[in-house]
Symmetry: C2
Subunit: 219 residues, 2 copies
């Protein structure tokens, strides 16, 4: 952690000295990444917009995106990301988030679930979620997505703690609607099974509009 | 919606006939995208792993990633994504999620916040969140990130409804820790201001480990 603050400071200082500096984070620098730290360093230096260094934040894919695609399509409906690292965040805040996410039926992505030293949090997280979801709820464990040692498993809420979970593992817990199909973890887009696969509206359902505006709509 | 089911079916059918088919979604096909629908179509056809067509899911950046980077670093700590479209999800489920996310201090990304016909949901969402967060909580509105008509604004919870919000807008609501700095929206990595900018441990805080395992750690 102190090392990361040092990296951010060094990057900003070199850029102020006229260097063209790229500060790299794995995944998305804006998601649990270095981008926030750069702003904190700039703030401490009294930096103003327009001052040197000029700043550009380049988005990337976070573990939710990469790990999700490895195991299927678990994030097709509402989801959240929670880091289990309590180094900078009180466990009470983290536990409250897990509880809220579990109760409100979000698909849950757990970052930093465990490490050699830190193994208690994922066990507590499982217990909290289990109070709100069935033991057969799909859970995926993905390690090092798209890297050499990629490793993925699709299991369930009652059994995922039997697997190896480390610092490079992302844990994806399904919602009440998530299902496993041919080993893939899939969350459908809605609750009401409003449409048949032929696009017909089911009995008792109002039809939707085929041009209903949607951020995901592709023309 | 019915159109999208048709697209998924057509893609699967052409692929089964031997075609090499790419089914494109804006953002990440796995986040509110077409990937889930493809699995639903395959399931309805009794497809098995190993059958034709062979399947590959390619991850992408979702609006959270792209829109976040446009306005700064709002997603450096726990966040969630909620779609306000109640076409396939009962509003009661959506409202419960907004309430839970607001109460548990998540940064909240709202997808599909409004459309020409559908304007009530974002107003209700604001009211729910406002019960849990101050009116000065930073809110960013980003439209068409990295596209021709990109448009972004950083405002706050009491004023964002005064802006134009449409089908291509993503709304990012800060947590209690999120701040605005030189027009950028930034969420710090932790709660305790445990470290000074020089990496020194503040009085009364236990030091962390510089090599504490983290998914975001870059060697």
């Amino acid at each position: 952690m102190t090392e990361e603050i040092g990296r951010a400071r060094a990057a900003v200082e070199r850029a102020r000295d006229g260097g063209k500096v790229a500060l790299i984070s794995s995944g998305d620098a804006g998601v649990y990444g270095m981008a926030g730290l750069v702003f904190e360093v700039l703030k401490s230096l009294g930096w103003k917009r327009g001052d040197s260094p000029e700043l550009r934040i380049v988005p990337g894919m976070t573990a939710l995106n990469s790990c999700g695609s490895v195991v299927g399509a678990p994030l097709v409906h509402d989801f959240c990301a929670i880091s289990l690292s309590d180094l900078l965040t009180p466990w009470s805040v983290i536990a409250r988030r897990i509880e809220a996410a579990a109760a409100a039926d979000f698909v849950i992505g757990l970052y930093n679930p465990a490490s050699g030293r830190r193994t208690r949090q994922i066990v507590e997280a499982q217990a909290i979620i289990r109070r709100h979801r069935g033991g057969e709820t799909p859970v995926a464990l993905v390690k090092s997505a798209y890297r050499k040692r990629q490793n993925a498993a699709v299991t369930d809420l009652d059994h995922f703690l039997e697997y190896e979970i480390g610092m490079l593992t992302t844990v994806l817990v399904g919602s009440s609607q998530t299902f496993v199909f041919e080993g893939y973890m899939v969350t459908p887009r809605g609750y009401a099974n409003k449409y048949t696969q032929d696009g017909e509206v089911l009995a008792g359902q109002r039809p939707g509009f085929s041009l209903v505006p949607s951020v995901k709509e592709v023309g």
